[in-house]
Each structure stands twice: as C-alpha cells, then as structure tokens.
Symmetry: C2
Subunit: 366 residues, 2 copies
C-alpha cells in the first residue's frame, strides 16, 4: 500500500505543475493545503486503478476557475469538503475514494486535502492526464460518463447542484456561477463507479507526477541538469519521453482574465543553441500551442511546459514575467488522450487553431 506523506506532496506539486502545462493553478497553494491536511489527519493511501473495486463509488474533486484568482484568494479547504458532503447527500451514498479530474497544478492537490480529512484513498489516475481549461475536456466525458449530477461550493457556503443533459451545459452553467462566486469554486463532478473509472481514466498520473517532482529534487541535490532529469523521468512511462523544445528568455507576455479564464501569449527569444530563433506559446489557463519561427512544434493535448533551467521547477503561465529564462519541454501524452474521439474534444481545432494534432514524437524525430 502506497502512502502519500507530506514530502510526497511536495514532489507531486512540482511534477503535477509540469503536467499542468503552465496552467492548473498555482501548485504552492494546493501543496500547503494538502500538507496541512496530512499533518493533521495522517498520510493518504494512493490506490492504483487496478486495485479499485468495480463497485466503488468515486468522486472526482477539483477547484474550478481562473488560476490568476487563486493567487489572491487562498481557499481554506472547508469548501471542498462542503461540495463532497453535499454530493454524497444528494446521491445518498458515501464516497469510497476521491480522484483528481486533472493531474495538473492545484488540482492534483485538492483530492489529498479532501482524502486526508475524510480518511479516503486517492485513486492513481485522472480525467485529463494533464490540465485543461474546461469541464468537458476530460477522458471521463470522452468515454461516455455523465459530468452530472455535479456540485460546486464557495467559501461562504453557497452550493449549486447541476443536472444537465450534456457535459457542455455543465461547463457553461458551472463556469457562469463560478465567476459569480468570485472567480473560483470547489467542484465535484463525474461521480462514477470504479469500473467506469478503470475504463475512462488516464492511469498512473499521480505517481508519474510524484516521480517527475522527485527527479527534479534529486537532480538539484546532485547538481545535475534538472531539465534533462525531467525528460528522462518520462521515458518508459505511459507518456512518451519528453523533448526539449526551446531555451530562451521571455521578451513579451500578454495575459487577461475573461469569462473565468486566463488567456494569453508568451514570446521567447532563443538563447544558446536557440539564439536567433523565436518561440511563441498561446495559453488559455494551459499552454495550447508552441510555434517556433512560424513552425508548429507542439500542440494540445501533448504537454508544453516551461521549466526554470537552473532548478527544473515549472514556471506557470500566471507567474511568467518579462526577462525570465526558461527551458520549454514537450511531453507526449498517452494513447487514451489521443484517440480520434479525444482529439475532437481537445485537439488544436477545438481551441480555434487551424492545424491538426501531430504527435510530438513525430514532430521531433532526431
């Protein structure tokens, strides 16, 4: 039985922020919330997907909203509990386990906040395999699970329950209420059986997040190249081996919060081997597409992550600032995230880009 302790949470915060593709919310805040909960209530069991009982009742828990808002308004952890309790009451059943909807940044942490307090395991898998900006952008949705009944709660104790005819309406209504809740809310959606979760989740994402974080820490301690350590840690996993896409410094970054999202673009000027080259990255909370000198070098759903080249620590889009030096890495996503039905939900065309998805490993055959 794998137990997740305070130091594992720190590793996961780093790794999940890498998988978060620049979005997913500030991992530090989530880390502090999860560590506090584990300190108070003890370590949390991490349950491999295959160990999950088919009849188990699993509740995915998350925060919803613009990551830029989390920076100003730190949640207490009580709100997430309220959403879970309300959903259990609504469905007349206690949860057997919780899981992340996305294993990126903040939202890799929230299940641990709830699990520690409730004495429940966290399932080692999620519905995005990274972070994405919208609620229907989940493998749970792609593979036919209803997002509702779903529930959001805010810090004042307001609760809204949704029963929608499709998951796009859930996204629309929950987003509208989340904006009115001050920019973020605590969400429970896609309540499902263990059997459904085994079928529809991206497996092993929590342990991969922890492995990436540990690789960074080990490289730091041994004074090795932490960017290379991250790439090596992805090799041999369900994800493909990561590649370094670019090294440069930020020469322009635009960002605005609209409709509950942080939209923006970062432009980097090349350094070292990349001198003379330019890379631009568009994001909607998460990085969506990277273009080098007019050439697409990576797109959703593959992961585009920016790392501090000195420390290997991920740089989220909301923290990005002029003059910052970054290494941009791409990580290929597992097959379950790249099926035709999955690409219809989160391929580059969904976000308005006139390009087809090309697997990262095909774009970068060295």
């Amino acid at each position: 039985m794998m137990l997740v302790r305070e130091h594992d949470i720190e590793a996961l915060a780093i790794g999940a922020a890498i998988l978060g593709a620049g979005g997913g919310g500030d991992p530090l805040i989530g880390q502090l919330m999860a560590q506090e909960a584990i300190r108070e209530h003890g370590p949390v069991q991490l349950l491999p997907l295959e160990a999950l009982n088919n009849h188990a009742f699993v509740l995915p828990v998350a925060m919803m909203g613009a990551p830029t808002v989390f920076l100003e308004k730190i949640p207490s952890g009580e709100e997430a509990m309220l959403a879970v309790r309300r959903m259990e009451q609504h469905l007349g059943r206690r949860a057997d386990a919780v899981c992340p909807i996305e294993c990126g940044g903040m939202n890799s942490m929230i299940p641990f906040v709830v699990a520690a307090r409730l004495g429940l395991p966290v399932v080692d898998g999620d519905g995005m395999g990274r972070a994405f900006p919208e609620l229907q952008m989940e493998t749970f949705h792609v593979y036919g699970i209803s997002g509702t009944p779903a529930c959001i709660a805010d810090e004042w104790g307001n609760v809204v329950l949704f029963e929608t005819v499709n998951n796009f309406r859930l996204e629309a209504f929950a987003r509208a209420c989340t904006v009115k809740m001050g920019g973020y809310s605590h969400l429970v959606d896609y309540p499902m059986s263990g059997a459904d979760m085994k079928r529809a989740a991206v497996p092993g994402t929590v342990s991969l997040g922890m492995a990436l974080g540990r690789a960074v820490r080990v490289a730091q301690e041994r004074h090795q190249d932490p960017v290379r350590a991250v790439l090596e840690a992805t090799a041999g996993t369900a994800y493909g081996r990561g590649v370094e896409l670019f090294r440069g410094k930020v020469v322009d970054v635009t960002r605005r919060t609209r409709d509950g999202f942080a939209f923006g673009k970062a432009v980097l000027e090349g350094l070292g081997d990349c001198r003379g080259s330019q890379l631009s990255i568009d994001f909607q909370n998460e990085s969506l597409i990277a273009v080098r000198d007019g050439q697409v070098v990576a797109t959703v759903p593959d992961i585009i992550a920016m790392l501090d080249p000195e420390t290997g620590l991920p740089v989220t889009n909301e923290r990005l600032r002029y003059g910052q030096r970054v290494a941009v890495v791409g990580i290929p996503t597992p097959p379950i995230m790249r099926t035709p039905e999955a690409l219809k939900v989160w391929g580059p065309r969904t976000f308005g880009y006139d390009v087809d998805f090309q697997p990262l490993e095909e774009l970068h055959v060295n």
Copy 2:
C-alpha cells in the same frame, strides 16, 4: 370557491400587465400557455390567502429572464413542470399549492399553467405586488423567507439547484445560469409554508389583476374611457386609487439587453392637457421612475404603467415604439410594500436614483 377559467385568464393577462409596470414579460404568450392548460385540464381554483392551511407547502413558480427574449422563444410549459417536479423531489414533499412570485405580465400566468396540469390551487397573493427585475426583490425576501432551495430548468431539460446563504446570491447564480440557458429559465424559489405565505405575501393580487382586466373590457364594450376605468377599479383595494400622470406620444425610446435584463428609457411629449410638457420613464425590465419636466412624479415601488388611451390595454416596455400614444398612470402600492425594510430592497436608491421614495398619493394631492 373561485374557479379561474379561460376568460378570467384573459382578464388577468390585461390586469397583471398593468401591475407589471411595463415589465414582467409579454402577457399574451403567458395567456396562451395558461388558457391551453385550462382547456386541457379544466379550471383552476384560486385560493384566498386566508383560506390557505398554515401547514400547506406552497411553491412560487415563475419565469426568469429578459422579457425581450420571450418574444422570440415561446416556452412549451413543460419546463415549468420540470422545475416543480424537481423541487418536490429535492424536498421530498408534494406541493399543496402554487403561487406567483410576481403578479405582473407573464409571471401572473405561469402558476396557472402549472396548477392546471397538476390539479393544484393558485394562492391569491404574490411576492412583489407588481413585477420587479430581481429575485431578492420580493416581500418573501423582505420578511425573512429563504429563496433557496431554488431550482431553474430550461427547455432542453437542464436543471440547476441552488442552496445559497442569502437571496442575493440566489439572484446572482440563477441569473448567470439563465443567461447561459438562452436568456430565460423556469424558476421555483422561496418554497414556504402556508403560515409564511400568509405573513409575507402581498394579498389579493391575482383577483385585483383580474378586476383591472375586467374593468378594461367592460369600458371597451360600453365605449367608456378605459383609462379612467382602470383608475376607478383600483379604488377601495389594498392598493390606493390610481392617478393619471401624463398623456403623450413616444418621441424617443432606447433599449438594450445586458446581463439578462432589458434596460432602457422612454421619452414622451405631452398631448392635450400635457402639451408643452415632457415625461421620461427609466426601466430595467419594469418602469422605475417617471420624471416630468425635471420633477419626479412617481418611483418604485409604486406602479408606473403605460396604457393605450383608446383601448386601456397596457403597453409593455418591450413593445413601446416611436410615435405611440400612451396614457401614463400611477398606482400606489399597499403598505406591506412600502415599509422601511421593503424600501431598502426596492426603493429608488436601490436602482441608483438619488431620491427617496415618496408615496404617489403625496406627490399628487389634487
């Protein structure tokens, strides 16, 4: 036992549109829906407030949204049933009666659509005594009843349930979802006991609406002045005797739909005794304030209604057009709507006007 039949619905549609103060949604659409329901299921019992059992379970039902949208998208009536059924299920109790949240325009009709189908009585009283644009603008709110649990439904079968810590949050969340539902939704809020309704409702508003409508029809048949007939029908009721504020023609009308509301202003140029004078009326769905030559002549919560001088039929703000001739009447509202706590919720300052409420009968002592 008073039974409401098809022709009573026609009278109520006219009278409630007068009480609707220019808003409340197009009464014709509601009328057709209610008449259809009564034709199919038989007449509906109108229950006087005092005949309501203290332990009865009453559900106020209404449509929410911008009246301008109702003109383009006629509801089927099924949506209102869905909201009621869902609320009954949520609270584990069947409704004993329904009532209007506002006795103005469209929303005086919806309870009859539901009541006919469910075989329930409609209580003769409401939460506004007129129409108002927001959900906390109800005597139910003013006198301490919780607006939640509340429920909205749309024509596609989507349902959202609200449990908020105050009624302002209900308004904010339900409004946001209603906008996403295409501009209107079907609402059940302020579920309450008979005892609460007796204490907090504006009494007799449904029968007053029908009386006003009948007065208009009788005056038309007898070729009498229908505007005067409306004013006389208000005398001796819980409302004060109405006064004619102005006669003129519309020389300017601006209107825009924003955040789920129809905002606007109408300017009238005087005719007859009013020649040389100008009257302007501001509205947010409903008419809020009437100013004649720089002088306030009526404000919320008193009712400002425009009537066609030839027919006595009310002219709603969404139907108002350039060149139209109208008689503007003011109707004083009952004491329960004018208490200090009520004026805090819907006095002119709530809508951003720097004037205190002055009772219509004090502004017009002839």
